[in-house]
């Protein structure tokens, strides 16, 4: 059984007991425990079920590389799936549940997949579920989805908050082991700004567990002293619980700080995503131990040797009473020594190397541990827990020689540097045959903005596989990075560390060497994804030669593992199957993040009210108080209509239209763009920007204009007012304000930079309201101040003046066909002016109206709307706007494009009005169909609806549409199929449904 030892536990506070709950049971641990160590201390070795076969799984590792120990953590609004037990710090009241099983962890129905494993090999999805086709959707997929997968999605809204933080440093060091500490010290001493981050709560990495001696003192003391020295450097900052998640172009790095995962009751952001820009990045991310591939290596109780050591030393937990150590290198002997020292039994060290180990092996033998060289584990016995191992010669085929009863196995297949971060941004790797691993190739680093490398790797992560080497390597890296960022490194030597002499490791990719299919199909490469040696061999056999293809076919190293444990072993098996060398097979691509980071952290502050910017006009609050139904227009909120109590949206729109046409309406048009264009060349410039002539506009007058892009398509429209000799005010659509301002600046800065023109976007300087309807003038006259008569201010004129005591600019323009004034006041007075208009207009039943009433009224008048009648493929000629295309001008943006053959094609669909025969409203976007199919086998069409409304004025449906030869086919009836298959018949009419002569607006 696994249990708590009586020793102290390096990271535990034995004074502070912590209660927690796992699968409904209350258990106890100590402050400093991880969930993994606390579960082991309670003999809870079984922690989950595997992805595909639902095999029982226990913890394998002790850190971020753990593939099996994934649990549902927390409840309700703090629920999170796939929390790693090895990186979850224990806290009082923690609630966790194992996942991926039904009905329970101990008894899981899904384990039948295990017995059918032979039927579920690599790629079984692609092979098995092809026929019959319908069965995929209704039978196979639902079943697979129920039995596969990890965890479950949270149901409640996340209760926590998250944030980003932008940080700028000279040198970022990722990984707080002894190499990271030394690199920070060396770089810090050189005077540059350093940030050192460590993903766990503890500094020093493995060195204290592995009994390193540095500068003549125990590793723990050296770490403490170094932290003290770093604390005295004002230019160095260090942070724990902060993982280097990814490295990107030009010195950009993401770091994931976990602020309150370990203390959820503190009112802190849960996670903080650091967006760091560093001059140089050093990764001192250490190395990860590899599993060995022997049959049954996934049975709970089989763990990495280093993890076993960690649990004993750091947490005073013994994973088992009798632990067999199996290895191909000397490092694992440390585990045997630690176990023995803790008073636990080590019945055998199984060393695959014929010649065995070096100094550590001698120590083990001296302690009386039985060491068997040239041997292998043929098979692990046990179901939910290891009961014994069968030992055989490594060279053979797996014939069992000895049965060794045990309840844990500590395995070590060698160490792989953590090269993920180096690789994220293009750092290349080289194969180190001595250690059978990939390590960074210093000659091919990720390149920064200056074309020079900006990432270096030091310590074990760089393949410096001894404490002394690692420290020297880190010291060099720290100094080099500081120098590259303008620092002056001190002439000091790296601290010395004593390393035991190690015998060479031997690559062992299968145990035993000649294992047959039966054994190979129980050798797990990727524990979480249930990929075995036999699966990779099958993939190779079926022609998947590329490692990337094999990864996808078998799912090796996908999802949570990301190649941390499985990568090298999988590559080696693939290489062997392909008769290739490992470096020729290469590795899969390491992608960020290093381990999963929360969606909340990625979103940062952008949630709830500040999920995205919401633009408000000065009447926003008034609208909120008066039944507004909002329409999002870009980031703006515009009133779609204002509902009276109990009124439907449709009824409100109809009422608003009728009231405006009958008497008086009021529209908040503040969102329309207002761009000032000024200068000696402004007229010439606007003649290029607009299709019609703006330079001839007289001061005091307004003109409607069209804008096209250089490829001829309509992009915006609006009324232009000439303010004085060299100043124009250009109105744009709501969505066009920023875009058109940018468009103008682009042409001025990049093409006509010698033209003397300045622009300014004044959109938000003014609140602008349209006072509309037969009584509009009466209202303004009542308020008094300026002459708004037909004579003083005719249609398409503007004037500055006072209205009701407000400083205003009044435009006699109309988008409704009614007598209409658009009145601009400074935005800060917008609300007051709005209130004044409403009060004074009461006697005419003044009716505020929204965008939908505006749409209906403009459609009744046949006015086009950018975005309805246009979609980026429509030219002015399609809309019958030829009158707005100046014939006098040599050039304007879009002119040449409109001469292209497709633009001048008489077959282009053109704008017409459409009136249904039965008075109903045509469906928006409906197509008119004709007999026959096109070359793609689709029904032939001859037109489409671009705008469609019920007109309360005419009391029937009206629409605009683009129709083949439309203007020449007045009176023709078209067929518009609806979604339900029925047909609506509509007659082609003029698009101007209301007051075609403009008598109402021109009064």
């Amino acid at each position: 059984m696994s249990t708590r030892l009586s020793s102290a536990g390096r990271l535990l506070n034995r004074e502070a007991a912590v209660k927690f709950n796992f699968n409904g049971k209350y258990l106890q641990g100590y402050e400093g425990d991880t969930l993994a160590s606390a579960l082991l201390a309670n003999d809870q070795m079984l922690m989950g079920r595997s992805f595909k076969y639902h095999r029982p799984r226990g913890v394998v590792a002790s850190g971020a590389e753990e593939p099996n120990g994934l649990v549902n953590l927390g409840q309700g609004a703090r629920f999170e799936p796939n929390a790693r037990v090895t990186t979850t710090e224990l806290f009082e009241g923690l609630v966790a549940e194992s996942q991926n099983h039904w009905p329970s962890l101990e008894f899981d129905i899904g384990v039948v997949n295990n017995y059918a494993a032979r039927l579920l090999p690599a790629g079984f999805y692609y092979k098995t579920f092809i026929h019959p086709r319908a069965a995929w959707k209704h039978v196979f997929e639902p079943v697979i989805r129920k039995s596969a997968g990890l965890g479950r999605a949270p149901k409640s809204r996340d209760a926590d908050r998250y944030e980003h933080f932008y940080a700028f440093v000279d040198v970022l060091i990722i990984g707080g082991g002894i190499a990271g500490l030394q690199a920070a010290r060396a770089a810090g001493a050189a005077g540059v700004k350093v940030l050192l981050i460590e993903q766990t709560p503890h500094w020093g990495g493995r060195a204290p567990v592995d009994g390193a001696e540095i500068a003549g003192k125990p590793a723990g003391d050296w770490i403490r002293d170094t932290l003290k020295a770093l604390g005295k450097m004002p230019n160095v900052q260090i942070r724990t619980r902060m993982m280097g998640a990814g490295i990107y172009d030009h010195g950009y790095a993401l770091a994931y700080e976990r602020l309150s995962d370990h203390a959820p009751d503190n009112d802190l952001p849960r996670h903080r995503l650091w967006r760091i820009r560093a001059g140089q990045i050093i990764t001192t991310t250490g190395a990860i131990e590899r599993p060995l591939s022997f049959a049954g290596n996934d049975i709970p109780g089989v763990m990495l040797a280093s993890a076993v050591r960690d649990y004993v030393v750091n947490y005073a937990v013994s994973p088992g009473d009798r632990t067999v150590v199996v290895t191909n290198n000397d490092d694992a002997y440390r585990t045997a020594l630690v176990l023995k020292e803790a008073g636990l039994e080590v019945p055998m060290i199984v060393d695959a190397r014929p010649d065995g180990g070096g100094a550590l092996a001698e120590q083990a033998k001296a302690l009386g541990i039985r060491v068997e060289t040239g041997t292998a584990i043929a098979k692990v016995n046990g179901g939910k827990r290891v009961t014994a191992v069968e030992i055989c010669p490594q060279a053979g085929e797996g014939k069992s020689m000895t049965l060794v009863p045990c309840d844990a196995v500590a395995m070590s297949g060698g160490w792989s540097p953590v090269v993920h971060l180096w690789s994220h941004c293009g750092g290349k790797l080289i194969w180190d045959a001595d250690h059978a691993h990939f390590r960074p190739d210093p000659d091919r680093p990720p390149l920064g903005a200056d074309g020079q490398g900006f990432v270096s790797v030091a310590g074990f992560a760089n393949g410096a596989m001894g404490f002394g080497d690692a420290l020297r390597d880190a010291d060099d890296a720290g100094k080099a990075a500081a120098k590259a960022t303008g620092g002056t490194p001190k002439r000091s030597a790296a601290p010395k560390a004593v390393d035991v002499e190690m015998a060479p490791m031997a690559p062992v990719w299968k145990m035993p060497q000649g294992a047959g299919y039966k054994l190979r199909s129980k050798m797990w490469l990727d524990f979480q994804n249930d990929v075995k040696v036999s699966d990779v061999q099958l993939a190779a056999q079926e022609g998947f030669e590329s490692v990337e293809h094999t990864k996808r076919y078998t799912t090796l190293g996908m999802a949570t593992d990301q190649g941390k444990l499985s990568n090298i072993n999988g590559l080696a098996v693939l290489a062997d199957s392909l008769n290739a060398e490992i470096p020729q097979v290469g590795t899969t691509t390491f992608r960020p993040p290093y381990t999963p980071i929360s969606m909340g952290a990625i979103g940062g502050e952008a949630r709830g009210e500040i999920f995205q910017p919401l633009r408000r006009t000065p009447t926003h609050d008034w609208a909120e108080e008066h039944g507004v139904y909002w329409e999002p227009v870009g980031h703006w909120r515009r009133a779609y209509c204002y509902n009276h109590k109990g009124e439907s949206v449709e009824d409100a729109v109809q009422r608003e239209v009728r009231a405006t046409r009958a008497s008086l309406g009021l529209l908040d048009a503040s969102t329309l763009g207002k761009i000032i264009v000024k200068g000696p060349d402004a007229g010439r410039f606007l003649d290029m920007i607009y299709t019609n002539m703006m330079s001839t506009l007289k001061p005091g007058r307004c003109r409607y204009g069209l804008m096209c892009t250089e490829n001829g398509f309509l992009t915006d429209d609006g009324v232009v007012a000439r303010l004085d000799e060299d100043t124009w005010l250009c109105h744009t659509t709501t969505g066009g304000a920023d875009r058109i301002h940018a468009h103008m600046e682009e042409w001025l800065q990049t093409e006509w930079w010698d033209w003397k023109v300045y622009t300014a976007n004044l959109t938000e300087q003014y609140a602008q309201f349209a006072v509309v309807g037969p009584n509009a003038r009466k209202l303004l006259e009542k308020l008094g101040g300026m002459d708004v008569s037909k004579e003083a201010l005719p249609f398409m004129a503007w004037a500055d003046g006072k209205i009701g005591g407000f400083d205003t600019r009044v435009f006699r323009i109309s988008f409704s066909g009614e007598l209409s004034y658009e009145i601009a006041v400074p935005a800060s007075q917008g609300r007051a002016f709005w209130d004044t208009l409403l009060d004074a207009g009461e006697e005419w039943d003044i009716t505020p109206y929204g965008t939908e009433a505006l749409h209906v009224m403009r459609a009744e008048k046949g006015f086009i709307m950018i975005g309805d009648e246009t979609d980026g493929t429509v030219i002015p000629q399609d809309l019958g706007l030829d009158w707005a295309l100046s014939k006098k001008k040599d050039d304007y943006l879009g002119k040449r494009a409109q001469e292209r053959s497709h633009m001048a094609d008489p077959e282009r669909w053109k704008l017409v009005g459409l009136e249904t025969l039965d008075g109903s409203v045509l469906p928006d976007g409906a197509y008119a169909v004709v007999e026959g199919d096109n070359e793609n086998g689709q029904r032939k069409t001859e037109g489409r609806v671009t705008s469609t409304y019920h007109s309360p004025t005419l009391n029937h449906g009206i629409a605009m549409g683009l129709v083949l030869h439309g203007p020449d086919r007045m009176g023709a009836v078209l067929d518009f199929p609806k979604v339900d298959g029925t047909i609506v018949k509509a007659k082609i009419v003029s698009p101007v449904f209301y007051d075609p002569d403009g008598e109402k607006q021109n009064v």
Binding site: R161, E163, H164, F165, Y166, A167, F168, K193, Q237, N266, D267, L268, P269, R272, R275, R277, G604, E605, A606, E609, I610, Q612, P613, L614, R615, R616, T617, H635, W636, I676, K678, G679, P680, K756, Y758, T759, A760, L762, T763, E764, Q765, Y766, F806, D807, P826, A827, S828, Q829, R831, A832, F833
Partner: protein, 188 residues
């Protein structure tokens, strides 16, 4: 004039920094030749301030001049003076190619002050706000979360920030969230 109200009417919040909307401020966009003596004189006459260096903001009492781009300044004055001041500068520059417009109502102005002010902004803007790299007088146009904004260090622990009026509430909520107690980073 008495009816004029700023976007948030002086909203205020206290956390790791004090965030407050500063009410109405007169602001004039001046586009023109910044090397012109006439431009410098017109600005000096009005504000008593010299033209700022690139990416700087000169301030004196209620007056300020900020460098917006190679051909643009932002002149800050009391709100009530803006209309007349705009006309005055425009008049002074009548013979030059220049654009002078009152933008007082198009913007909202905030102060972010206190020891945590740098970090409040550093959670939202991709700018190095360390004491060595962002000093009093420096003016930065950038992105604040999802909207454009500009801020400058008015005093050693007081930033002022301008954004468009329509997003004033969004910006206030951002700053308030960023300054929520307990979220001090301890980095800057």
């Amino acid at each position: 004039m008495s009816d004029a109200i700023s976007a948030l009417d002086g909203a205020r919040s206290e956390g790791s920094a004090v965030v407050e909307e500063l009410g109405l401020r007169g602001m004039i966009t001046l586009r023109g030749d910044l090397s012109s003596k006439t431009v410098a004189a017109a600005v000096k006459n009005l504000t008593g301030l010299n033209l700022p260096q690139q990416r700087m903001c000169n301030s004196r009492a209620a007056y300020g001049v900020a460098w917006m781009s190679p051909d643009e300044l932002l002149v800050m004055i009391p709100y009530g003076e803006a209309e007349a001041a705009t006309a005055k500068i425009a008049g002074a520059l009548a013979k030059e190619h220049a654009l002078v417009v009152n933008v007082s109502d198009a913007r909202a102005v905030f102060a972010i002050r206190g020891a945590g002010a740098r970090e409040v902004l550093a959670k939202l803007a991709p700018v190095d706000l360390s004491k060595e790299r962002f000093e009093p007088g420096q003016f930065r146009r950038t992105r604040l979360a999802q909207v454009p904004a500009a801020f400058w260090l008015r005093d050693p622990d007081r930033f002022e920030l301008i954004c468009f009026r329509s997003v004033a509430q969004y910006v206030f909520d951002l700053l308030k969230t960023s300054a929520a107690p307990g979220a001090e980073v301890g980095f800057l």
